[in-house]
Amino acid sequence: MSFTQLTELVVLAEGRQLKISDVMLAVEVEEQGCRAEDIQERMAHQFTVMEAAVRRGISEVLPSRGGLIGGDAQRLWSRFQKNGSSLVGAVATSAMAFAMAVSEVNASMGIIVATPTAGAAGILPGVLVALLDTGQYSRAAINQSLLTAAAIGLAIANSSSISGAAGGCQAEVGSATAMTAAAVVELCGGTPQEAVDAVGLALTNSLGLVCDPVAGLVEVPCIYRNGLHAITALAAAECAMAGVHNIIPADEVVGAMYDIGNAMPASLRETGIGGLAGTPTGRRLRREILGGVEQ
C-alpha cells in the first residue's frame, strides 16, 4: 500500500472501509519495517511533547529570542477565563490561544514538535489540545488523528513543499492548517473524502500566503498566523462535514500551491526582506535587533 496523492488516500481508505489514519499506519509499518504498536507509542509520545508545549506556553510568559513577542497566548486565555465566554466560541478561542502558546515556546527556543515545521508548529497541537479539553474525544483517538495529519502532510510535502524558503508561508502554515482540518474531520467522525475536502478548503484559504518574517525571526507574523489559522482549520473541517463543495480537487489545490510558490520572488520566501519584514517598522525592528549593517 502506498500513496502520493490525496485522491489515492481516499480510494485506499474508502475501498477498505478504513480511516485515513489506518492507511497511514499500514504504510508506515510497511515502509519502516516496525510494529504498529511501536508507531502508535511513538506518536503518543509526540502528542505528549505537543501538549506539554501548549500547557507551558499558556502558563508562562516566555522571552522570545528576538523580543518581538511574548504573553499573547496568556492575554487571550485570561480574557476568555475572566469573561467565561468568547466571541468565536470556546473551542475556537482555546485553539487560537493554544496555537499561539506553542509559537511562543518555539520562539523562546523551547521544545516543540515540528508539525510539519517549527514555524507552523502551533496549529495542530493548538486545535487538538482544545478538542481534548472538551472531554468529548479520547486521548487515544487524538493520538490516532495525528496519523491522519501525517498522511496529508506527506502527500503535500512530496507533491509540493512544506518549506517557507521554497514555497512561502502557504507551504508551512497552509500545510499545517490542511493537516489539522483533516485530523479534526476524522476525530468528529467524518469520512475520508470529507477529510480531503477539508484539506482543499483549508489550503484554498491559505494560497498566496508569503513568508515575510520580521528581522528573519520566527516571531512576527508567525505567531498570529498560527493563532488565526487554528480557527481556519476548525472552520474548514466544519464546512467539509456540512458538504460545502470543494470545486477544485484538493490535489489540484496542492498543485496550485506549488506553482504559486515557484512564482514568488525570493524576497517573500523566508529571507526577511519583503512583505511585513520590508515595512518601515519591520526594517526598523531589524536594525534594532540585529544591528546596523548586515542582518
Binding site: S2, T4, Q5, E8, M24, E28, E31, G33, I39, R42, M43, Q46, V49, R65, G66, V105, N106, A107, S108, M109, G110, I111, I112, V113, A114, T115, P116, T117, A118, G119, A121, L124, L146, L147, A149, A150, G153, L154, A157, N158, S161, I162, S163, G164, A165, A166, P213, G216, L217, V218, E219, D251, A266, R269, E270, T271, G272, I273, L290, Q295
Partner: protein, 230 residues
C-alpha cells in the same frame, strides 16, 4: 508523466511530518541545519579544530534570527535536535577552542536553504554541501565535491577510493552477504582510474555484521566513514 506514476519521494515517514521533536525556532533553519552539520561531523569522525560555514539563500539572509549559527555549531559538536544546550553552542565551541566562521556566498545554483561546511581537525578535512528541505528534512548533496544523496534518516557509509574495476561489485556483494538492502547509492569519480566516492544508504539498523562486512572490503579504499541516522 502520469500523475500517479511511482517516483522517488523525499518524505517517507509519518514522523517526517509529525516531528522532529526539537528546540525552536525553525525546523529548516535550526533542526535541519543542525542535522546537516552533525552529518559533517560524522564524516570527519571527531571534533574539528576549525569549521567554516558558507551560507546561501535564505540561510544567508536569516541565520542569526533563526538561530542557524547556534544550530550548525551544535551539529558540529554532535548534539541532537532536542538538546537544550543548542542556544549555547557557539560559546561551547569557543570554550573547546574550535574556530567557527560564518560567511555568505551566492547560492544561485542550489536550493534556497543550503550550506557548505568545511571542517578540519588539523590532519584530515572534509567539505560538504547540504540542503534543508523543510520540516527538518535534509539532504547531503556533495562530499568533497562528489555529488551524493544522503538523507541522514538511514544508516549510511561513505567510501573514498580509487576507481578500479569490480570495486562496486565487491562492496555490494559484501553488503548482500549480510542480507542488508541498499535504499540509495551514488558513485562518482574524478576521472577514469582517479579518486572516486561511493555513498550508500541502507534499510534497517546499522549492525556490527554490516560494519564488519565492509572492513577491508577492497584495497582501493582510502577512507571509510559510517553515518548513523541524525
Amino acid at each position: 508523466m502520469r500523475p500517479n506514476m511511482p517516483r522517488p519521494v523525499k518524505y517517507h515517514s509519518a514522523f517526517d511530518i509529525i516531528g522532529p521533536v526539537m528546540v525552536g525556532p525553525s525546523s529548516s533553519h535550526t533542526a535541519g541545519a543542525l542535522r546537516i552539520a552533525r552529518m559533517a561531523r560524522k564524516l570527519l569522525g571527531q571534533d574539528p579544530t576549525a569549521v567554516v560555514f558558507e551560507l546561501m539563500g535564505s540561510f544567508a539572509e536569516t541565520y542569526r534570527g533563526h538561530g542557524t549559527d547556534q544550530a550548525l555549531t551544535a551539529g558540529i559538536l554532535g548534539f541532537a535536535t532536542d538538546d537544550s544546550r543548542i542556544p549555547r553552542a557557539l560559546d561551547m565551541a569557543k570554550a573547546l577552542g574550535i574556530s567557527v566562521v560564518f560567511t555568505k556566498v551566492s547560492g544561485a545554483l542550489y536550493h534556497p536553504n543550503t550550506v557548505r561546511i568545511k571542517l578540519t581537525d588539523g590532519v584530515d578535512d572534509v567539505d560538504i554541501v547540504g540542503t534543508s528541505l523543510g520540516g527538518g528534512k535534509i539532504e547531503l548533496i556533495e562530499i568533497d565535491a562528489f555529488p551524493v544523496h544522503l538523507s541522514g534518516d538511514r544508516p549510511a557509509v561513505v567510501l573514498w577510493h580509487k576507481d578500479r574495476a569490480g570495486f562496486l561489485a565487491a562492496v555490494l556483494a559484501a553488503v548482500a552477504n549480510v542480507g542488508v538492502n541498499v535504499g540509495q547509492l551514488s558513485l562518482e569519480r574524478s576521472r577514469k582510474d582517479g579518486d572516486a566516492l561511493v555513498a550508500i544508504e541502507f534499510d534497517g539498523a546499522c549492525t556490527v555484521e554490516l560494519l564488519d562486512a565492509l572492513d577491508g572490503v577492497h584495497q582501493a579504499v582510502q577512507k571509510i566513514r559510517w553515518i548513523k541516522p541524525v
